[in-house]
Symmetry: C2
Amino acid sequence: MEYKNLDKALAFQDLTKLTRVSLKNNMSAKRIAKYTATAGGGLTYNYAAMPVNSEIVAKLQELCDEQELVEKYVELLSGEMMNTGEKRLVLHQLTRGNCTGSTVIADDENKDEFYKAQLERIRDFSERVRSGKIKGCTGKKFDTVCQIGIGGSDLGPRALYLALKGWAASEGVKTLRAEFISNVDPDDAAAVLKTIRPETTLFILVSKSGTTLETLTNQMLVTQTLKDIDMSKHLVAVTSKTSPLASSPDVLDAFYIDDYIGGRYSSTSAVGGVVLSTAFGFDTFRELLDGAHEADNNALNGDITKNAAMMDAAIGVYMRNVLGYGQTAILPYSQALSRFPAHLQQLDMESNGKHVNRFGQKIDYKTGPVIFGESGTNGQHSFYQLLHQGTDVIPMQFIGFRNSQSGLDAIVKGSTSQQKLNANLAAQIVAFALGKDDEDPNKQFDGERYSSLLYADRLTPRVLGALLSHFENKVMFQGFLWNLNSFDQEGVQLGKKLATKVLNGCEGDDILKAYADMLM
Amino acid sequence: MEYKNLDKALAFQDLTKLTRVSLKNNMSAKRIAKYTATAGGGLTYNYAAMPVNSEIVAKLQELCDEQELVEKYVELLSGEMMNTGEKRLVLHQLTRGNCTGSTVIADDENKDEFYKAQLERIRDFSERVRSGKIKGCTGKKFDTVCQIGIGGSDLGPRALYLALKGWAASEGVKTLRAEFISNVDPDDAAAVLKTIRPETTLFILVSKSGTTLETLTNQMLVTQTLKDIDMSKHLVAVTSKTSPLASSPDVLDAFYIDDYIGGRYSSTSAVGGVVLSTAFGFDTFRELLDGAHEADNNALNGDITKNAAMMDAAIGVYMRNVLGYGQTAILPYSQALSRFPAHLQQLDMESNGKHVNRFGQKIDYKTGPVIFGESGTNGQHSFYQLLHQGTDVIPMQFIGFRNSQSGLDAIVKGSTSQQKLNANLAAQIVAFALGKDDEDPNKQFDGERYSSLLYADRLTPRVLGALLSHFENKVMFQGFLWNLNSFDQEGVQLGKKLATKVLNGCEGDDILKAYADMLM
């Protein structure tokens, strides 16, 4: 296996020399039918509104071959130490299934069996909570779960919970309400504690190390505030086997993760599993895992035109390193995905917002873009003005579903809400791509504003799992293309150290003290 | 008054020639104390971690003088037709107070009196709802208000409601719960309708024209779903006097706005006034208006070092047009401001994401940046990796408060949560500015990542009003610097037209049809 920087890849050098594609000159119904790739799990990726043609696609295929994307993915799945910075394996895909059949041994245990065993424990525990076999300290059944965690222990599970709430309601799936406390700002915990009944709330404390300052602080804040509750009957931990929490007498139970699941990749481990299984039942979580596993398998396809994650990754690198765009807008036309862009923001920016390659050497090209987004049609009434007529081109990633989750609808002016929603989505793609000439420059739309579309029939647990996996694998493939380690996050350390210094009195650092004095 | 493009301003041409400031070589406690400007309403703007020095500040002052920022602001306040595209006055500041004492007449009425009269009606109505004098169709008191609106009728009011909820709870202010339905996705309405009791819910339909498709569709969806409710006793409208809604027999009451309040600037008009006054009481909304008015007055100061909005605007243009940065991250260290970045995203990107000047001529320089952000410390565990070590510099705007809203807190490891929150904020500013050298490139922090800080004692209604106004006026000043019309949004029209075409069957447009067929 060769790991080389993007700018050393011959296919990349060729790619920079190819003529840019004009959408206005090339867009057609035929093109739309052609430029499509399956993502697995019921999800499809359409890239007709991206500036590519057969020549560019062929060169992207060459680039993926030259950078050995599938081979590296197989290495990762097989338990190679892909997190080079922290010297760790990367095993989040294994939490949903074994794609290669290979046996991964680490920490003296078979990792496939380890994750399966945790999953069985989650199934058992969540069923006992939902059936009322496990009760709170006053003998009442739990009706609420409250996750205490930050970063990957918050954003992914929260986005997935919100994405499934409406689906569960319309399917008649019994649901326990989930709440999340993440921010060390005490107003976050205060707001959540106002909305819950402590007697019937199960808290899930999530910290791999068992030492995350924000999370432990919030746990203490909750415990001190809820003085009448015997927390040992209301608190479970999701943590590593070796953390102090794992054997704490203060928790009802503990579920394990390990060092091979990074926070931002942990939604399909116990980090997302306990809260989602308790909220919606284990079967729902299992369907989500199955969808993710299908997408993981699809990502093994060496043919870029049949591998949505790889195509999405390669086009993204083309946008970033050939065309020079520094941002990607994520635009789900589904209110259920309202917090999915925030999860992808972490997933992508924390993984690939790097300035060194996987060997720790400084690199000379651009890496991960800024990711932002809001659900449509809301965004159309907000920042789309800049996307249409601003002075920078911002590539876009639309997400849409033929059917709503709820099925609730009404015909107004001859169409349903769902039809209006998707009419807007189709219209936006075309408006961005083709623009419209006008004599009045203020009504001129230049077009050539690129977008892709991920779509499925309906946002079910399976499709949601595929969507999650699609982006995880896209980010992984981009890391391979850029020759990065997408699995560490050294950039967060300096702030932590300085914060500790502030809390210890700033010790002669007058700049830090001057800022602290303004604020504290 | 002269309106000229930024690149024609002599001070701008000078500005591009000045030597760039290194924070590492210049940062000191003295600098932090010096580079500060009041924003009014209890809010202060500190720009010590922005790459400026006395020379650059002097040149920014010259630029603001040359582009006649204060004079143009006074013109706007005095009722000049500043929205050149739509040929409208721009009067949102007048909804909170009269800064210049000038009488503005439009539509044959004194606008100051018009807004005051609406405010009195809002006071009266909200008091009658809160006291139970106005009841629902089954004789029950209202305990919930549900705003139906999109874009500016949603983002601003929602962000402000969330920002004040914790404050109101801790102050013992009686609060009616507020919910918001915005997206035409029927799952949005379905989710909200599940959480409310229709009998005790007052709906507020907000559409200036009375014709916003999403909003009318959602109103119909709600009405059709809640068949047992006599909506004429549950629905008020916020609309223009001339809209069909204004005289509809289907509404309990109507509150008026006019063409001189743009959606994204409408939070302090009846658009935010009805929902916030009903939720928190009129006095709370009045305090918010007073804070905004103080900041509006502060923005009249011709001395840039005493005018936070002008300084923020000018530094922003320096970042965008001299240093070339295309993005700004908004990072409030307060969970109460969780949706404030989404509001600012609309405010800024819809106002200044333009490619023509106020005369409708194409311009040759960059305008509004992409705005994104999440609350801290959450963001630290998410996208800050890229902010610290990514290959692009992203300027940042921090927001912080000495005290929490709730007052809830606990000492964990020697400090309170609020202390930890602000220690992190101070630490991040310094970490970004100064970085840290390390032999290991993966642990290298280059620093010179620029940020400013808006701070106050506590997030009260007055401070929140000032914060809102600060950004509105910053955006306005940047529009003057770029010689834009910040008050129209032609860029949203094409998508609307094409969506209508899709709903009408695409009429021979095979590209549109191909996308619609995938989705519908």
